[in-house]
């Protein structure tokens, strides 16, 4: 049995925690990219997904938690309450990366859509209970629509989440795949999760 500090020392090596910092920066900075290119998505878990693919589940979880903590300091305090969503994304992204989810673009999209569904299910109760489904984003109209058709609040928020999250996460995963598949091998080889990104028959 390894103790915790020994486990952390062998798993969170300098390349890993250095990449985790980049992951946090990517998570927080994607808002700017989205605004610059006028894309109607969040893509704010790209950093977590990249870290999950390159380093594994635990680094991705820590990246996610710290991103949301820092986001609640700079953007909106609401982010602090969505840490569970980020946790689900981190864990599932790590598992899918290990199972070869980043080997083909369609696998990446499928895992992204699945992660999106799970994220919507986790974030719906939080969003409904704390904010009544209002996040001051474009998708609020969906909640309004579902409410106007007589749905309960939690259901309306869940439907809204199911309508937007799978698309968002699917594209996030596809982007992560596109980015990682274009990175040079000698860079990716420095990270522990590299062998999950390459087909087995290749050296």
């Amino acid at each position: 049995m390894m103790n915790i500090s020994e486990y952390l020392r062998t798993n969170i090596t300098p390349p890993v925690f250095s990449l985790m910092t980049v992951g946090v920066a990517v998570n927080l900075g994607m808002g700017q990219v989205v605004a610059l290119l006028k894309i109607p998505l969040y893509l704010d878990s790209l950093g977590t997904v990249v870290v999950a693919a390159l380093c594994g589940i635990l680094p991705a979880i820590i990246t996610g938690i710290i991103s949301n903590l820092l986001a609640s300091a700079v953007f909106s305090p609401a982010m602090m309450f969505f840490i569970p969503t980020m946790l689900v994304i981190a864990i599932l992204a790590g598992i899918f990366a290990k199972k070869g989810g980043f080997l083909h673009w369609w696998k990446a999209v499928l895992s992204g859509v699945f992660v999106g569904i799970c994220a919507a299910i986790v974030s719906a109760p939080i969003s409904a209970y704390l904010f009544g489904g209002i996040t001051l984003a474009g998708t609020d109209f969906l909640v309004l629509y579902f409410r106007a058709t007589g749905q309960e609040l939690l259901q309306a928020v869940l439907y809204q989440g199911l309508a937007s999250d799978p698309v968002d996460k699917g594209i996030t995963f596809l982007l992560a795949y596109a980015i990682l598949s274009k990175m040079p091998r000698n860079l990716l080889l420095r990270f522990p999760g590299y062998h999950h990104l390459q087909p087995r028959n290749q050296p």
Binding site: S5, L8, R9, I12, T13, P14, P15, F17, S18, L19, M20, T21, V22, V24, A25, V26, L28, G29, Q32, V33, L36, L37, K38, I39, V50, I62, T63, I66, S67, L69, L70, S72, A73, V74, S76, P77, A78, M80, L130, F131, G132, G133, I134, L136, D140, V143, L144, R147, A148, G150, Q151, E152, L175, A178, I179, K182, M183, P184, L187, R190
Partner: protein
């Protein structure tokens, strides 16, 4: 002006207290406490900043929620008419409950992040023997966002020169990929060089760390922590009994 910038321990206990009481206290009490909090912070060093942030984030959110709840609330059984408008009674109650919670929680959290800097929190965690990499990520996360933005603007500029139409979905996708690949390449490459530098600085050392300036809590700090924890215990006890 209150010149007291507290120690991380009372500040974190303040945050805990805010989060727990935000879910237990009743609507009226929360409104009252929020006003008291706002008044307290109005006279604080960062008072203006805190008030501005609340105006920018919390008020629009609350207005949106209020409007949404009072006009579209399908479960309505009682209607009230205010100023010629027919509003849902249940919706108003729910909106009041929700907005009170949001104002209270958000005020508390915004105040928390203004009472303490991430740097201060990180240096406290460092002294409490948390892994140094965790402190590194916490402190450098925000600093790296600035680097990310600078690089992003640079790459965006050059890609625009090369031509980057944004008319349809496919072009937007191409543009996103064209910007993100060089951006992440630069960031990841830099991070792997940084990894060598940090390793050489002894971030992998296993020796017991020492602290140059041990972090000492004053009596005021201890007292404040004690008060907040007492409040949390009271809340939990009464919250579950009532």
């Amino acid at each position: 002006m209150i010149r007291y910038l507290p120690h991380p321990v009372p500040t974190v206990s303040f945050l805990l207290c805010i989060i727990i009481s935000g879910f237990i206290l009743t609507t009226g009490v929360k409104y009252l406490l929020s006003v008291l909090l706002l008044l307290f912070f109005a006279f604080h060093i960062n008072g203006k900043k805190i008030l501005l942030t609340i105006l920018k984030i919390v008020i629009p959110l609350c207005i949106a929620i209020g409007l949404f709840m009072t006009f579209i609330y399908p479960e309505t059984e009682r209607w009230v008419t205010i100023g010629g408008m027919r509003l849902s009674h249940e919706g108003l109650t729910a909106a009041g409950d929700m907005t009170s919670r949001i104002i209270f929680l958000f005020t508390g959290i915004i105040a928390f992040f203004n009472l303490i800097t991430i740097q201060r929190l990180g240096s406290y965690l460092y002294q409490k023997n948390l892994p140094v990499w965790l402190v590194f990520i916490l402190i450098n996360g925000l600093k790296f966002v600035d680097r990310f933005r600078a690089k992003l603007n640079e790459i965006h500029f050059y890609q625009q020169i090369r031509g980057m139409p944004l008319e349809n979905v496919w072009q937007k996708w191409r543009a996103t990929v064209k910007i993100l690949i060089p951006l992440l390449y630069v960031m990841i490459e830099e991070s792997s060089n940084r990894a060598i530098a940090l390793e050489m600085r002894g971030f992998t050392a296993t020796a017991q760390r020492t602290a140059l300036q041990p972090d000492i809590q004053t009596t005021t700090d201890k007292l404040i922590t004690f008060v907040f924890f007492g409040f949390i215990i009271l809340l939990l006890v009464f919250g579950f009994i009532v």
